[in-house]
C-alpha cells in the first residue's frame, strides 16, 4: 500500500473565509468541478466584517482527497482563511422548512405536538397543509423529517449546514 492513499470516506466540514465580491463563489465551485470533488451542501453569508463572507461546505470523501481539496482551495487568491472543522468542537446549525399534508384535525394536532418536541415553529397553514420551520443540527433535522414523513411531505427545503468553531 505504499503508493495508494487511504480511501475511507467520511464527512467533512470546510469553513472558508473569502473576499466578499462578485465571482468568488464561481471560483470556489469551479474548483470543485475542475478537480472532481463533490459538494454535499454549501451555505454562504456575510460575516462581522463587510469585506468578507463565510462559506460553509460539507463534503464526503477520504482523508487524502479532502486534504488535497483544502490545499487547492487555499491557493485561490480570494480565500482569506480556510479551516477544516472538527464536528466535535463546532457549533453546527441548519434550517429546514417542511410543508406537510394536514388534512384533518387529528393530523394537525399530531404535527403540532411533534413540532413542539423538536422546538419547531408552525410558520404557515392552509386548509390542507402546514409548514414547519426546524432549526438545529443536521441529525435533529433528519430525525424530524423521519417522523414528519409519516404525514406525507409536500415540499421541503434545507439551507445546508452552517458552522462556527467553539471557544474564543
Amino acid at each position: 500500500m505504499s503508493n495508494s492513499v487511504n480511501n475511507k470516506e467520511d464527512n467533512y466540514i470546510v469553513s472558508i473565509l473569502v473576499e466578499n465580491k462578485p465571482g468568488v463563489l464561481y471560483r470556489i465551485s469551479n474548483l470543485f468541478r475542475r478537480r472532481n470533488f463533490n459538494i454535499e451542501s454549501i451555505s454562504v453569508g456575510p460575516t462581522e466584517k463587510k469585506e468578507f463572507s463565510r462559506m460553509t461546505i460539507t463534503l464526503n470523501g477520504d482523508d487524502a482527497t479532502v486534504e488535497q481539496l483544502v490545499k487547492q482551495l487555499a491557493k485561490i487568491i480570494d480565500v482569506v482563511k480556510i479551516s477544516l472543522l472538527n464536528p466535535r468542537n463546532t457549533i453546527l446549525r441548519e434550517l429546514a422548512l417542511i410543508k406537510l399534508y394536514a388534512k384533518d384535525s387529528r393530523a394537525r394536532s399530531d404535527i403540532l405536538n411533534y413540532a413542539q418536541i423538536f422546538k419547531g415553529k408552525i410558520v404557515d397553514t392552509t386548509e390542507d397543509a402546514m409548514t414547519i420551520e426546524v432549526v438545529g443540527t443536521p441529525e435533529k433535522i433528519n430525525a424530524f423529517i423521519k417522523i414528519a414523513s409519516s404525514f406525507g411531505i409536500k415540499e421541503m427545503v434545507r439551507t445546508g449546514l452552517t458552522a462556527l468553531e467553539r471557544g474564543g
Binding site: 505504499s2 503508493n3 495508494s4 464561481y26 474548483l31 490545499k71 487555499a74 487568491i77
Partner: protein, 525 residues
Amino acid sequence: MADGYARVSGRPGVCIATSGPGATNLVTGIATAYMDSSPLIAITGQVAKAAIGKDAFQEADIIGITTSITKYNFQPRTCSEIPNVVKMAFQIATSGRFGPVLIDLPRDVQTEVNEIIFSDNIIFSRLKYNMIPHPLQVEKAVNLLLNAERPFILAGGGVIASNASQQLLALAELIMAPVATTLMGKGCFPENHPLSLGVVGMHGSYEANKLILEADVLLAVGCRFSDRTTCNVSEFCPDAKIIHVDLDASEIGKNRKVDVPIVGDAGETLSKIYDGVVKRLCRKEESVWLNRIEEIKRESENIYSSIQENNLTPIKILKELREILPNDTIVTTEVGQNQMWASLYFKALKPRTFITSGGLGTMGFGFPASLGAKVAKPDTPVLDIAGDGSFMMTSNMLVTSVNENIPVMVVILNNSMLGMVAQWQRLFYNRRYSAVKLVNPDFIKISEACGAIGIRVGSLEELRSAIGQALKNEVTTVIDIPISPEEDVFPMVPPGKGLKEMIYNALKTSSILAKKSERLKEMID
C-alpha cells in the same frame, strides 16, 4: 512568444489581444503557461460594461473561460482600479509558484478619463508562501540521505524557476547522487556532468528510467510526479523512501504518497539540506552505487551505438546540433517525436536553455517561444527543433520574425507525418494509420515568401554548413531536413505501464509486436 520570453528571462511576459475571438485565441497559450508555471500577463479587450452579459458583438466571457487556467483574473470596472490591478497581476504571476494572470479591460474602462492615483507600494499581503522549509522536515531529509545507499535526485521545473541549479549541483556532488530531471527540469543540471542521467519518463533515457527504480531514497525537488514522468505511478519507485520538495503545498501528496514532505523554495531547501548533510558526512570512497551507475551508462551506450544506420537519423541530427551549436544556445521544441528526440539526444547544459511545452504539450509552441527567447536574449543563438506538423500550426510567425527583426533558427525534422501519433498507431494499433499522413507545403518557399531564408539539408555535412550560415544570417533561417516517416522514438514506456516495462529499442518492439499478433491470432483461432 510572451511565454518563451518569460521562460528564458524569468520575468513575466505580456501579451495582448482584442475582445471575443482575440481573447479566445489566447486560451491555448495561457493554458500552456499555466501547466508549466510560467509567469504570463494576458491583457484582453472586453465590450463596454453595459454590454457585458448581453451577447454583444465580439463578447466572450473570458473571465469564466480562463478561471481554471489562470492563477487569477481581473476585470476592472473603473479606470481608477487599473494601477492596483496591474500591480497585483504582476505580483500574483511572479509569487510562489509562478503562473499566468489575465486582465480583462472593458472598452469604456479603457477610454475613461479620470484622475488616477498611482501608489507605489502596494503589497498584496495574501501572497505569502513558505519559502523557508521547516527545519524538522529538512532534518528528516538529511537523515534519510545520509543513510541512503542508493540516493537519487529527480529535479523538475521548480529548480529552474527558483534559480537553484547551483544548489542542486552542490548537493548532488556532495552526496554523489545521480540526477535525472523531468522534461520541465531539463537543463537545471548540466547534462554533460558524470552524475547526469538525462530525463526520466515515458521517453526518458535508458539510464534514468533504469536507475531511478533502483534508488532507495529519492529526493524529488520542484516536480509534480506527472504521469509522463512516473508512468504508471503505482509502479514508480515502490520501495524507495521519497522526499518531496515543492513550493506549492498542493503538489505534495497529490499524485504520489511521500515519506518526507517539504514545502519550500527549491533553492532554499537544497542549500539547507546541503548544510545538514555536510556537517555529518563521512565520505565513502568506493561506492557500489557509483559503479552501478557506470555500468548502466555503459549498457545504454552499447544498446544505442550498436544501432548502425547510414541515413540521416534524428539522433544523429540532434547529436550533431549539440556539437556545432554554442553551449549557451537556447533550444525550444515543438511537440511530438521532435520534442522527445531533443529531450533524449540534445544535451542541455544550462538552465533556461531548453524551452518546451511539457504539461500541455502544445504543438506550435516552439516557434513563437523561440522568438520570445530571442527577444529576452538577443545575443544568444536560438533554435526551434520542430516537427513538420507542429511548425504548420504557427509558421505564420515567420512574418513576425522578419518584420520585427527577430532572427532565429528552425530545424524541421520533416517526416511528413504527425510522427508521434503515427508511432503509437504503429506500435499499439498494428500500423493502422489514421489521420497522420501530412502533405506539407514547401517549407523553403514558405520561408522565402515571408522574407526568411530556407535551406533543405540531406546530410550531416550540409547540416553543418547550414547551421554555420544560419548563425550568421540576419533573418530567420528555416532548415528543412527530410527524415524517414517510419522512425520511432526509443526508449518508450508504453502508456499505462510502469517504468520497468520500458521498450528500449526497435528490436525489442518487433518482438513485442510479434507476440501481440500471435495473441491476436490465438484469439481469432
